[in-house]
């Protein structure tokens, strides 16, 4: 059962990374314009040079 002491922190840590990512997307305003973002990805002008 000592393996728990290793696995539990790892799994919580991984989930925390996910939560941190979600936090960042909200702060960065990625949910402000879902339709516009879907359209932008198809627009060549927004591509960076290859």
């Amino acid at each position: 059962m000592t393996i728990l002491l290793l696995l539990a922190p790892i799994s919580v840590g991984l989930a925390l990374i996910g939560l941190g990512g979600f936090w960042w997307t909200v702060r960065a305003g990625q949910y402000e314009d879902p339709r516009g973002d879907a359209a932008r990805i198809l627009d060549d002008a927004h591509d960076s040079a290859p």
Binding site: V12, A39, A45
Partner: protein, 724 residues
């Protein structure tokens, strides 16, 4: 008023400390990816524009202007030249649009979701121990401590919206739904910690977080509904008349937000624009269309010295006005007061969920207290007694109750929105479901609000058409529309407020008011134009406001729903009677002032009727605010759209019956949800008192009941008949 030619619009730019300007426009008609790139690149290429960003979801274009540069009018013209409609946002309104509360709720929801998901990892193995499987108490304790490590911070963070609201309610000496929720969450955490410390098996860390997660879903849905309605209502206002054209001492034109007009300002109003504030005409002559202000269909002649009201439409000549009231005071102070009274009456309306909470909270808390006191008295010991009380609070958590109404109302509103009906609040839907009497305004609601030619001598129409095509007057427009495309008269002179004169095949002809053409004016309520060649006989062309083709069917539809229908109009008896007959309404009254209308609505409600008012004019605004529920078409004046609960955007009267049907279906779904919650609590609460509930049962029961309520709400998507 996008076509208005205005000089300086710098009042619409919000400058920051560094001098960078921010300008917001509402763009209409942009729907696709191509539009997005076209608008952004087109605007960014303008001189003085540093950057432009278009939000395709909200239709808002945000333009960053270089310090000291940039011309809002140029931006607006550029967007219009691309074929879209563009209106400027008042900077004060644009700032208010930022949605902080929504962002906070999303974060809380995300944290609660993380907590609810991860705490399961530790509590599910611990549950296995509850059913006699091999799990040593020491391992279970480790699991609970790990669960506490995840759950406690998550619950404290995700619970903040509830704690804050509960605290502010308690400080005012009141209790709301958030008080029992906060008590429940905090008590659950405390009991679980104490259980874990005493090596007990009954820790509810997962329940505390899951409860918040489910409640936050309901809270977030409710917020989305309100925010969407607020945003759409604000956009509609932005479309109306935010710009007034002020003349400075040198006679230069400056576009300013209507709210900034001061008493004594000189304002220019071009033909086709609305009068921004109550004012007196200084120079110029024109005809004024009061259809939205008083409901009169026939335009009124106005010259220097005449008073004009905010919201009236200037038809034929350019006017210079002197403002006699500010925008806030313009809409007749008495009407504004009546509207305020209506808003207060509505504020007192108790929503379904609050009625349910008022019943639920004392019952559950008494039961929990009784379980604690009774359990202790019957010899359970304080620890076991407290555990049972906590179990009662947890399994009867108001999750299902908190979701019951918002989930249904969000589904109902989005359904109505697809149908072109904008619902301003959930309470509006609840009130709409209760109505039993419908009052219609005539002009612009049952009728199209636009004149149409009544007399039809094809020879006369084609003779007068070349002159009509050269005029911007609405009656001439109606004539030209009837005649179709064709020649335009030459050498045309438009005399403001009188008519047009020009050459047709070399012969001089006039089209306009009776005295302009050389006939003595005849009294009567009808709208008319006279036409004649120089020296020839003059012909009279009468116009009427046609009844909407779907009016009769919409009213029959309402009768089918068991509602009584009535028309209250400010127009003359003859046209009102004609419309009532065409629409199939037997009960009608004409010649009413705005105060008569609101008094009639108040009187009806005094006798216990629940009235739905459907109106569009300023004369309806007070009645709209006072009625139990109200609807306005998207063409209505801003004051009326503000006062109305629902706005139907595509001017289709069938939307009224559709909205009522959906509102009734939504109430039925909400009632079913309450019935289910009551049934669930009736089983769960006694079980908790008897000690039959352990953390596993609590988790299953709680999320199961919420799921049932959500699924029932989704049935809303196909309620109220097929969507067309």
């Amino acid at each position: 008023m996008s076509e208005a030619t205005v000089g300086d619009l710098s009042a619409f730019i919000a400058r920051d400390a560094g001098g960078l300007g921010r300008l917001e426009l509402l763009v209409r008609g942009a729907r696709c990816a191509a539009c997005l790139g076209k608008i952004e690149r087109g605007v960014a290429a303008l001189p003085g524009v540093a950057a432009s960003r278009f939000n395709l979801t909200t239709g808002k274009l945000t333009v960053t202007l270089a310090p000291g540069q940039g011309d809002p009018a140029a931006v607006q013209r550029a967007v219009e030249a691309m074929g879209y409609g563009a209106s400027l946002f008042d900077p004060a309104q644009a700032l208010a649009a930022e949605d902080r509360a929504g962002r906070e709720l999303v974060l809380a929801l995300g944290v609660a979701a993380f907590g609810a998901g991860n705490v399961m990892m530790f509590t599910v193995p611990a549950w296995a121990g509850l059913f006699g499987q091999e799990l040593s108490p020491a391992t279970r304790e480790i699991m609970y401590w790990l669960a506490a490590l995840v759950a406690a911070p998550c619950a404290l963070f995700a619970g903040m919206p509830f704690f804050r609201s509960a605290w502010s309610a308690l400080r005012r000496g009141k209790a709301n739904m958030d008080v029992p929720i906060s008590i429940g969450v905090l008590l659950t955490l405390a009991v679980s910690f104490s259980e874990t410390l005493q090596h007990g098996a009954h820790a509810y860390f997962d329940a505390a977080v899951t409860l918040l997660f489910l409640l936050l879903i309901g809270r977030y849905l409710d917020h989305r509904l309100k925010a969407a309605a607020r945003g759409a209502a604000r956009d509609l206002l932005a479309l109306q008349a935010p710009v007034a054209v002020r003349l400075d001492a040198a006679g230069r034109e400056h576009g300013i937000p209507v709210g900034e007009v001061a008493v004594g300002d000189r304002l220019a109003v071009a033909p086709g624009d609305r009068i921004p504030v109550d004012a007196v005409i200084e120079t110029g002559a024109s005809e004024i269309d009061n259809a939205l202000v008083s409901g009169e269909t026939a335009p009124v002649q106005a010259g220097p010295g005449a008073a004009v009201q905010a919201g009236a439409l200037n038809l034929s000549g350019r006017l210079v006005l002197r403002a006699i009231a500010r925008s806030e005071d313009s809409t007749v102070a008495a009407i504004a007061r009546l509207m305020e009274a209506g808003a207060q009456a509505r504020g007192a309306y108790v929503r379904l969920a609050d009625k349910a909470a008022a019943l639920y909270v004392p019952v559950v808390h008494t039961l929990a207290a009784a379980a604690f006191v009774g359990g202790w008295a019957l010899g359970l010991g304080p620890r076991e007694a407290l555990l049972r009380a906590a179990a009662v609070l947890i399994v009867t958590c108001p999750c299902a109750l908190g979701l019951a109404v918002p989930a249904v109302q969000v589904a109902a509103s989005s359904r109505l929105f697809r149908r072109g009906v904008l619902v301003k609040s959930g309470a509006a839907l609840e009130r709409l479901a209760e109505i039993d009497h419908v009052v219609f305004d005539k002009t612009g609601v049952l009728t199209e609000g636009r004149p149409r030619l009544l007399s039809y001598l094809p020879a006369v129409i084609s003779a007068a058409a070349p002159l009509a095509r050269a005029s911007r007057h609405p009656l001439a427009r109606a004539l030209a529309e009837r005649a179709g495309a064709g020649r335009v008269a030459t050498d045309v002179v438009e005399v403001a407020g009188l008519g047009v004169e020009g050459l047709i095949d070399g012969r001089r002809a006039r089209l306009g008011r009776a005295e302009f053409v050389g006939v003595s004016p005849s009294p009567g309520g009808e709208s008319e134009l006279w036409f004649g060649f120089d020296g020839a006989t003059k012909v009279r062309l009468t116009f009427f406001d046609p009844v909407r083709p779907d009016a009769a069917r919409a009213i029959a539809d309402l009768r089918g729903l068991g509602l009584t229908v009535e028309i209250l109009s400010g127009d003359l008896p003859a046209p009102v009677g004609r419309v009532a007959k065409a629409a199939g309404v037997t009960q009608w009254r004409a010649g009413l002032t705005p105060f008569d209308k609101s008094a009639a609505v108040t009187l009806l409600q005094g006798t216990g009727r629940k009235v739905l008012m459907v109106g569009d004019g300023l004369n309806d605004a007070a009645a709209l605010a006072l009625a139990h529920a109200s609807m306005a078409p998207g063409t209505a004046l801003d004051a009326s759209q503000n006062a109305a609960d629902l706005v139907f955007l595509n001017g289709d009267l069938a939307a009224v019956a559709q909205a009522i049907r959906v509102a009734r279906a939504a109430r039925a779904r909400a009632m079913e949800n309450f019935a289910f919650s009551a049934l669930y609590n009736l089983v769960a609460a006694p079980a908790a008192v008897l000690g039959l509930v352990n953390p596993f049962v609590a988790a299953i029961a709680m999320s199961g009941s919420s799921l049932v309520v959500m699924l029932n709400a989704l049935r809303m998507s196909w309620a109220g008949g097929p969507s067309r």
